[in-house]
C-alpha cells in the first residue's frame, strides 16, 4: 500500500481554517467533543505559535525522508505537513533546507511523530514544528512511502485535507467535513468564556457561577 501520491485532495476553506487557528487547540478540542488530539509528547520547538492548515500527510519509513521531497510538490499555501513514520523513530527527518522549500510554497508548519533538526534556524525563520524530539540524526532516501494517504500520527487518525490546529497546548485534528461546524461551536465557547472570565476575575467562585454546590452536597461532599 505504499508508493502512492494522491494529488487532488479536498481542503477546507481558509476562512474556516484561520478561524480555528484563532480559537486555539484547547477550545477546538472541546468544541468537537474531545476527540482528535495528538499525544502530549509532541511539543513545539519554540513557544508562542498558533497555526491551522490543511494536512498534507506523509507515511514514511523509519529513518527515510525521501517522501518529504515528494510531498512538498503537493503543498499549497495554507497547508501543514504531517509526517508519520511507519515504525517508532527519533531521527531528524526535517531541517532548514526542507523548511525553506516548504515555506516557499506557503506551508505553515510541520507536525512530525519523529525528530527534527536545525531548530535554531527554524526558530529564526519562524517555521513552527511540533515534534516527538529534536535530533541531529539524519535520514536516508532509499525507500518509498506515500503522500496524502490516511495515517495515524501520535495517536490521532489524520486524513489528507483534515484541518490541523496547533499551538502551545498541542495538536488537534478536525476532520475536514466537520470543520465549519466545529468552528461555529468553538466560537460559541469563546464568547461564553469571555463572560465567565470576567466574573471569575472579579472574585465570583466557580462553585456559584456553575451552580455546583447542590450537586456536590447531594453526592455526599462533606466539609470539616
Amino acid at each position: 500500500m505504499s508508493g502512492v501520491v494522491v494529488q487532488n485532495i479536498a481542503r477546507a476553506d481558509l476562512a474556516t481554517i484561520d478561524g480555528l487557528a484563532h480559537c486555539g487547540v484547547a477550545t477546538v478540542h472541546e468544541a468537537q467533543g474531545r476527540i482528535g488530539l495528538m499525544a502530549p509528547y509532541l511539543r513545539p520547538i519554540y513557544a508562542g505559535s498558533r497555526i491551522a492548515g490543511s494536512a498534507v500527510t506523509i507515511s514514511a519509513p523509519p529513518g527515510d525522508n525521501w517522501m518529504v521531497h515528494v510531498a512538498i510538490e503537493q503543498l499549497q499555501a495554507g497547508d501543514i505537513l504531517v509526517i508519520a513514520p511507519t515504525s517508532p523513530c527519533e531521527d531528524g527527518y526535517f531541517g532548514d533546507l526542507l523548511a525553506t522549500s516548504a515555506a516557499a510554497r506557503g506551508c505553515r508548519g510541520l507536525i512530525i511523530n519523529a525528530g527534527v533538526r536545525d531548530v535554531r534556524d527554524l526558530t529564526e525563520m519562524g517555521f513552527p514544528v511540533w515534534s516527538k524530539c529534536i535530533s541531529a540524526q539524519g535520514t536516508i532516501k532509499a525507500s518509498l512511502g506515500s503522500v496524502n494517504v490516511p495515517v495515524v500520527c501520535a495517536g490521532a487518525a489524520v486524513h489528507p485535507g483534515d484541518v490541523v490546529v496547533a499551538d502551545d497546548d498541542g495538536v488537534c485534528i478536525v476532520p475536514r467535513p466537520h470543520a465549519a461546524d466545529v468552528l461555529a461551536k468553538a466560537q460559541a465557547r469563546e464568547a461564553n468564556e469571555t463572560t465567565k472570565r470576567a466574573r471569575l476575575a472579579a472574585g465570583e467562585l466557580g462553585l456559584d457561577l456553575y451552580k455546583m454546590r447542590e450537586k456536590l452536597a447531594e453526592m455526599g461532599l462533606k466539609y470539616g
Copy 2:
C-alpha cells in the same frame, strides 16, 4: 476516604514562606537534609518563576477536575494549589479560567502531577505552573475527591499547609512545622556560598577550598 473538604488548615507565616522562596529549591532542599523533592519530570511551563506558598491539596480522580472548583474556595492569599490524581493521568485539569479564579483569591501558582492547558494564556497572566505535561485534553466533573487531605504528589508526601517552594530547579515540600528552622539553615547556606563563590570565581580550586586533596589521596586516587 474521599469526599472530604478540610477547611481550617494551619499555614506557616508569610515572612517565612517568602524567605524560603528567596532561597530557592536547591538551597532549601539541601537545608532540610535532602528530603521532600518532587520528581524531576515536573517542569515549569515557563522559565524564571521562583515562588513559595502554603499547600492547598487536592486528591482528584483521573480526568476529573471538579474538586479544583471546591479547592479554590479554600484558597487564601499566598497559597499554592497541589493536585495529585489518584491514578496516573496526563489530562489538562487546569486552564486559564481556573487560573483567573485562583489568582483572584491570591493563589501564587499550581503544582500538578498531571497536565495543564492554555499555557500561552497562563504565561501571559504570569500564573506559574509546574506540571507533568501540557495537554489540551479536558476533564469532567462527575466524581468526588478531597481537598486539604495528605497526598503523595510526584513522589513527595504533602500535608495541607506545608510550604511549597518551586523554581526552575523543581518543587520541594517543607513540612510546615519545620519551615522556620529550614529557613534559618537555608539562609546560613546562602551566606556561606557567597564567600565560596567569590573565591572560586577568583580561580581558587574546590580541591583546596574544601581541603579535599588529603582525603582523596588516602582513598587511593592516583594521578597519571
Copy 3:
C-alpha cells in the same frame, strides 16, 4: 579501574574546534558519516548556545560528584566537561558554584548524562549545559571515580580530548584524530548548502534540484 586521573591529554587545536562549533551539530554529524551523536534526551538548559571544546571526561558513581572537583583542576581554556555516571542517575551533580569554578578556568560548558541544578543562575551566567534532566537533588562526596578515561555518555563513546560539539540540535563527539578532516568536510557541506538554500527559497523543488524524479519512477512511485 576507577580512581585514576589522567593529567596529560592531547587536544585538537582551537581553530579546528572553533570551526566545528561554527558548523553546528547537524552538519558535523553528517560530515563525519553520521556517527558520534549522543541520545536526543540530552537537552540544553537554555536555547541558542553553540559551542565546541575538548572533552575532559568524568566517570562518576551515581549520586557522587566528588570527581567534578578533581576534574576542574585538569581544565584548560576551551575545554568541555563530560560527566558519565556509572549507573543511571538523575541527581543534580552540578550547580552554580561548580560552574563558577569551571568558568574561571575557561571551561565552555558541561555535558552530563544526569541532572543539573541552579539552572537560573547558570542561564544568567551564560554557562551552557546539556543534561538528561534538571533536578535540585544534591550529591555526595564519598567514592572515587576517574577523570580523563574513556567513557560512554548518553550512547556515545568519548575519549578525553575528543572534540565535543553542542547546540540546540544535541551533542556530537568528533574523535580528536579526525577533527581537522571532519571540519574540512563540514565546511564543504556548508558551502554546498548555501547554494541549495537559495534555489529552494526561490521555489525550485528538491525533486528537481536533486534529480529524484527518475529514480522515484523507477522504484514504482505512483501518482494518483
Copy 4:
C-alpha cells in the same frame, strides 16, 4: 460523538480469521505490507497465546469501564474486545468478572491500551490479554463512551469487525475487507519460509540463498 452503540457490524468469516491466527502476527503483518501493527508496549499477560477474532471496539473515558458492560452484550463467539481510552490511562479496566462474562459469550481475548487486573485469575482461565500495563487500580461507571465505532488503539486504526491477530510478537489489525487476501498472502509466505528454513538449518547462508553477494559488492561493502 460518544454515547453510541453500533449493534450490527460486519465480520470476516471464521475460517479466514482462524487461518490468520495460525499464521501469526509477524507473518500477517508482512503479508499485508507492514501496516496495522500496534505499538510494542502492548504485551501479553502470559506467553504462548496466538489468537484472532473480530474487533468489538470500545472508546472509553479514562478510568471509566462502564462501556465494557455495554460492549459485552454485543459480543459473538469469535470476537475480541479492543478498548481504547480517550486519553492516556493505566487503570485496570478489566478483571476476572468481566472476563468470565466475556468468555461466556465466546470472546477470545482482550486488547487494551490501558491496564488490566486479576491477571493470575485470567491466566488460570486461559483468557488472553494484551495490555499497556498491569494495575490493580479500579475504574468507575460514570460517563458514556461508544461501542463499535472506529478507534485508534496503541497507534493502530481499528474499525469494528476488523480482524485482530495477536500473539507473543504483538497485535496486528487486518481491515476486514482485506482479510481473505491477506490470508492468502500470509499462507504463501509460510510455504516459502518452510523451504528456506530447512536450507538455512542445513548451513546454507542467507547471503547465498537470497543471492545478496553481488548487490552488496556493488553497494561498496568491503571485506578486510
Copy 5:
C-alpha cells in the same frame, strides 16, 4: 533526618495479614477505597506469588545498600522489606546473599523502588520481589540512611508496620490501624463476587445483573 533506626514498631496481627494476602491486591485496594497502590511499573520477578506482611522500611541513598544489612536485624517473621531510594535509582540493591539472610529471619519478600539482581537464584529460593527493574549493577556501603521511618515508595506513602499486600497485580499498602477493617470489607467483597461470577459465567449480562440499562438510557446512550 537520616541515620535513624527505629527498633520498636507496631505490627498488625498475623491472622489479619494472612487474610489480606488471601484476598489479593485488587480486592484489598477496592476494599480500602482505592488508595495505597504503588505505581504499576513495580513488577514481580516471577509470576504467581501472593504475599502480605508488615513493612520494615528503608530510606536508602541512591546506589548504597548499607541500610539493608541494618534493616535485616529488625526483621521478624512475617515482615516484608520496603526499600525507597532517596533519588531515582536502578541499581541492584539486593541479591541472593541478602535474600538468604532475610529469609533466615522469616522475611516474606521485598518491595523495592529500584533494581534487584540474582533473580534466577531468588526465583529458585522462592523469595518474591517486586521491583522497578532487574539490574546486575551493584551498590556501595558508604552513607547512612534510615530504617523504619515513613517513606514514599513508588508513589505510595508507607509507615513502618503498615501491611504490604503484593501479588501479580501489584503492591498495595494498608495502614496498620485500618488493617482489620479493610480485611472485613475485602472478605465481604469476595463473598459478593463469588455469586456474581457464577451468574456471569452462566451468561447473565452485567447490564442486567447490575441493573445498568435504565441509567444508561437516561444518560443518553443510543443504540444504532
Copy 6:
C-alpha cells in the same frame, strides 16, 4: 565509516568464556570493577538462560537488517551476535529464520538494542535473545552497515571478540584482553560467597559477618 566487514577477529578461549558464563553476570560485573554492564532495559525473551560467547558486532542502520546476513557468515561456534542500530529503533530485526541460520553456525544467542520477533519460535528453539523490545515490525535490506567494528550497545562499549555474558540479570561485556583475569577474580568471589551464604542461612547477621557495627556507630547511626 560504514560498509566494512572485519573478518579476522581475536577471540578469548572457550574455557574462559564458559567459565564466565558459569559465574553469571552479577558476579562477573563485580569481578571486573563494575564496568561493562548494558542498560537494564535489555531483557531476555525467556527466563533461565545463562550464556557467554565472543561478540560478533553489527552496526546497522535503523530498520535495516541486511548486515545480519553478512555477519552470520562471520560466526564461529561459541559466538554471540551483538546488534547496535545507529539510531534508536524498535523494529524486529531478527526472527526464526535468522536464528536458524545463526544456530547452524554455532551461535549461542543474540544481544540487540532494538526489537526481535518470532519469540515463540525462538523460545521453542532455545535460542536466547536479550532485546529492547519485542516487535513484529519487519526491516528492509537497503543500506550498508558494518560487521565487527567497535559499537556502543545499550550504553556499553563493545569491541569485536569481547566476551559477552548474559543471564536473567542482564548483559555484561568483558574486554577480551581481561577475560582470563576477570574469570579468576569471579571464581574467587564465588568461593567466598559460598561460605557467607551458609553463615547467613544459619542466621548470622551481615552486620556481624561483615563487622559493620563499629563503622556504623562511628558514622553516627542512632538506634531509637
